[in-house]
């Protein structure tokens, strides 16, 4: 489901960016910039303020979530 009911699929959009910090557009349709550090991706994403960037780190490998 998307926000109207279907799952939001970021898997293919993000797959090429293993191990990097990524900024995606607020509508989750495109990658805006990537970097190896959060500081770099924040600086670069300032250019895309109007697209309401969302940042995340794509894992190096699948990380189990155990908390």
């Amino acid at each position: 489901m998307n926000e109207q009911g279907q799952i939001i699929d970021l898997s293919e959009l993000l797959r090429p960016f293993k191990g990097k910090w990524v900024a995606i557009s607020g509508d989750k349709s495109q990658v805006l910039c990537t970097a190896f550090t959060i500081e770099e991706v924040l600086k670069e994403s300032e250019k895309y303020k109007g697209l309401e960037p969302i940042i995340l780190r794509v894992p190096d490998e699948h990380t189990a979530h155990l908390l």
Partner: protein, 152 residues
Amino acid sequence: MIRTITFPYIRFPAYPTDAFPVRTFIERPALQTTIEYQGKVFPNFFFSIIDSGADSCVFPSVIGRQIGIDIYSGRSEATVGVAGSGTTFYHSVTVHVSIQGQLYHFDCYAGFLDGLDQFGFGLLGHHGFFNLFESVTLDSKKKFVELKVEIP
């Protein structure tokens, strides 16, 4: 009156491991969040996972430092979890959440954990998040989250 808020899981890439050699994605109950500390707001949204196994809300230290939080000055608690064991340091922040284009916020005594830096996600746990709602349902089969909140 009870208001129901429903939204879908998000599918993230996963990479093959010895244990799961053919898995290519993982679906998580995640929300767009950002945090505010003493009037300074982290400039972008980031994802936080609704985590029924987390006792409290915890965010990556690296995100807290970007808005001026002196992480290690907070009250501390030993933590065992996603990043092994470590120390979580607590600070009072405001958490902003975007759900289906609507913005919500709540005050939260939240932890910051260095071990989450490589994970890059926050965790929305019981103290601070779950206790805001009448119920939180994670429908892992249909892949949606349902929050029931009492409206005065």
